[in-house]
Point group: C2
Chain length 217, copies 2
């Protein structure tokens, strides 16, 4: 089964639609590989008086997908996060950079990427079981099984953490992959290399905390 | 000389100010290491009628810093990019993820990162020399010296490419680095590993385009 999200005004792919997808499987796969998202809100009108300038805001933050929702967590002391928790309209981008695309012409240089944009409004999670599940999923995204290999949040810690769920029901993916578009005509004969330099995010050797005497992961 | 940007309402660091900086040297170093930024605008009110839904938008896109400005490029066919070029207020985030921070408690898990947020309005570059310099810098960001190792944009290609400059005069950096905060009291004795798993973006072996017979970079 390949479930597909309905196309809306905001998720219709106007530019290079062949690179786009509204399939949930494609969208979820990108979300599940990324560690950071960027959340945009239109203005801090929902913010408290500690942030009085208007205009758009953008927040880079960790996230995790569980089923059909994206979960963020933050502190009530963060004004923008409070606005998101209070239901401000958001646009969320998740971007994986896969490669640098070099053509013989500067004009055809590009990047390979996989990205998702989600539109909607968040809601604070008040169900403690859902909140615990989202926070465990966030920790497990860092290292699989880690949620069982650390002390779970206490009631006091849970109370200090706002968890926000954003439904993934208005979203699209966009993907560019493969070699540069072939240079045309006499450009194809130019004596320059053309191809892709793949990029990868790698995990390097763990560095134990100074006070840690337990063997590493 | 360590030049520092003035602090504004939007760039005052309210949360964990010890992690923040308004020093241009710190801000530039982060911008010069990243390949992608996320541009937020408040609403598509400046967009043409092909994008009629309101609300915030966020665009992941390549960028380059030259001197005290950040340069984006795009096509006039992209409605959101047209709005940015027309001077819509933007918030731009650049985020480098440096590590996963594992503590003995789920609560103290974190990430190491370096990020910059810039506020302002862009302006389309009409000076052809500045436009060419920005596009060359974009290509050189992918591979140093590449702008001289490919065919530069033709006049027709230049005309098809919108270049936007955004002054870097209202911006802040935020950085987390180092080990997890020490777990407190009896948590410190928990038998779980604590430390950092560094993350790095690496360039893998170049893949030549199918039609390329020139030796690689």
């Amino acid at each position: 089964m390949s479930e597909t999200l309905p196309v809306t005004d905001r998720t219709r792919l106007r530019r290079k639609p062949a690179r786009g997808s509204h399939e949930l499987g494609v969208i979820h796969a990108i979300l599940d590989e990324a560690l950071v998202c960027h959340v945009a809100i239109a203005s801090p009108e929902n913010l408290s008086s500690d942030s009085i300038s208007g205009g758009p805001r953008v927040l880079p933050t960790a996230f995790v997908r569980v089923d059909d929702a994206l979960y963020l967590h933050g502190s009530a002391a963060n004004g923008m996060f409070r606005a998101i928790a209070a239901g401000a309209e958001v646009a969320i981008a998740v971007t994986l950079l896969d490669g640098l695309v070099l053509a013989r012409t500067a004009f055809h240089h590009s990047v390979n990427y996989r990205s998702v944009v989600i539109f909607g409004r968040g809601a604070q999670v008040h169900d403690l079981a859902v909140q615990r599940r989202a926070l465990a999923a966030l920790v497990d995204r860092m290292v699989p099984g880690r949620a069982e290999a650390c002390r779970p949040p206490s009631d006091r810690e849970l109370a200090a953490t706002i968890v926000v769920a954003i439904p993934i029901d208005e979203a699209s993916a966009k993907i560019r992959s493969g070699p540069p578009v072939p240079d045309d005509g006499e450009d194809a004969a130019l004596p320059y290399w053309a191809g892709v330099i793949p990029l990868a995010t790698v995990r390097e050797a763990p560095i134990a905390a100074p006070d840690c005497a337990v063997a590493g992961p």
